[in-house]
């Protein structure tokens, strides 16, 4: 690594202003766990890093607002997310996901905002946030805007965030009657990056699927909602043949990638089988 300037703005807006440049070697750093990897391997050689540490105190909150919306400051660490009673109550799937998300030391410093803004399709948090209908509040030098997480990812390592935009907050709506699970499939060692991620969120009313969010990740260029698979179960009772049909639909619509974790064809199989199993697990509340 080579020396660089380290700026330490006091507010997010100030930080966004410092990022308002065409120079791609200027980037924001919060926990830095992902960025440091890129810097250490020489993939990224920064001229200037804009540290968000000094703004952390104002953007590390996790609380429910008056409307029942769970608001998570972008600089909240993943560990604090996992410990939060509000998170546990509102979205236990997040706590489940965090258990196998990287490791304790990374979770201790990595931030929620960083995990969403990085755009690496192998990450665990984006698909889950997507399935939870989360949105992000984004700050730029000139204002703020709100964006559904579902619209955040535009391509492999590409996001809808402009260079001068920073995630300030993640908002999770309260959704009654929903249950969810995240299935992280690894094909080599247990702590490997996922070969395939499957997130299932269901709203069940008297055994019937009133609504669903099904998301595939890791084997895809971005986390992707599986609309045909969702449609195949909406209004249905989750009997075996419905589960099988949903697995087929998911496997049919997702565009999966060949890589060192497995062939696309094999990942289609994993998606088909494990989608059905995940649905069953959510239905029977058998979530580990």
């Amino acid at each position: 690594m080579s020396p660089f300037e380290l700026a330490e703005p006091r507010t997010l807006r100030e930080a966004a202003a410092l990022l308002d440049t065409d120079d791609s070697t200027v980037r924001a750093i919060a926990g830095g766990t992902a960025l440091m990897l890129m810097m250490k391997t020489g993939v990224f050689k920064p001229a200037r890093l804009v540290s968000l540490r000094a703004v952390e105190a104002h953007h590390a909150h996790i609380h429910k607002d008056a409307e029942g919306m769970l608001r998570i400051g972008a600089l909240a660490t993943l560990s604090s997310l996992g410990r939060s009673a509000d998170v546990k109550a509102a979205a236990p799937v997040l706590v489940q996901t965090l258990k196998t998300l990287s490791n304790v030391r990374v979770r201790n410093v990595a931030t929620v905002g960083g995990a969403l803004a990085h755009g690496d399709p192998h990450m665990d948090l984006p698909p889950v946030m997507m399935a939870l209908d989360a949105s992000v509040v984004v700050v730029s030098p000139t204002g703020t805007r709100t964006l559904p997480v579902a619209e955040l990812y535009t391509g492999y390592y590409e996001t809808a965030l402009a260079r001068n935009e920073l995630i300030a907050e993640v908002c999770l709506p309260t959704r009654t009657g929903w249950r969810a699970t995240y299935v992280k499939l690894t094909t080599r060692s247990a702590d490997d990056w996922p070969t395939l991620g499957i997130t299932v969120a269901l709203k069940l009313e008297s055994g019937v699927v009133a609504d669903a969010r099904l998301v595939a990740s890791a084997a895809t260029a971005t986390p992707v909602r599986l609309m045909a698979a969702e449609a195949s179960i909406r209004g249905q009772v989750l009997e075996d043949k419905v589960l099988a049909r949903c697995g087929e639909a998911a496997s049919g619509e997702a565009e999966l990638i060949d890589d060192a974790h497995g062939s696309a064809a094999y990942k289609q199989t994993l998606l088909r089988v494990h989608m059905a199993r995940a649905l069953r697990a959510v239905m029977t509340a058998d979530i580990k």
Partner: protein, 160 residues
């Protein structure tokens, strides 16, 4: 704005002032202070050899910019206020939970954190908590036993 700066931090309880480059990570700065218990190995936060406590929270020292330690309380495996081994260290010796010893400081620091968070950990708790540490000699079975033994030792020595 300069690419070098002076940081002040507490190192194992003692105040330290260090001249650092912005690009330097915490392990480099600790080694310059003569402490070699935190070691860079995988350089990716996966093996845990570089584990350091910053403000009582375990971090991967080789992925942690030294600049961010300014003003912090930094503790390493060398921290031993009473000059003797703690329950976790005793348990690691008792269970033979290491071979080459390179990863051992990281495992010990993480096991302490584990027992702080889960004083009576299940096997599953132990394996999940320590999954961010690698031991190429693979003394894993012994490490799990050591974590259990250390928990028992700590629980039995609690003030009544």
């Amino acid at each position: 704005m300069s690419s070098t700066r002076t940081i002040n931090f507490a190192l194992n309880g003692d105040p330290v002032t260090a001249q650092i480059g912005t690009h330097q990570h915490l392990v480099e700065v600790l080694q310059a202070q003569g402490l070699t218990g935190a070691r860079e190995s995988c350089a990716q936060g996966l093996c845990g050899c570089c584990t350091v406590l910053v403000n009582e929270v375990a971090v991967s020292g080789c992925l942690y910019l030294a600049a961010f330690a300014d003003g912090a309380d930094v503790r390493t495996i060398e921290y031993a206020p009473e000059g003797k081994l703690d329950a976790v260290q005793e348990a690691f010796i008792e269970c033979g939970a290491f071979q080459c010893g390179y990863c051992t400081p990281g495992f010990i620091l993480m096991t302490r954190q584990l027992l702080d968070a889960h004083p009576d950990p299940s096997e599953d708790d132990i394996r999940h908590y320590l999954s961010g540490n690698l031991c190429r000699c693979a003394a894993y079975a012994e490490i799990v036993e050591a974590a259990k033994l250390a928990a028992r030792m700590r629980n039995s020595s609690l003030p009544r």
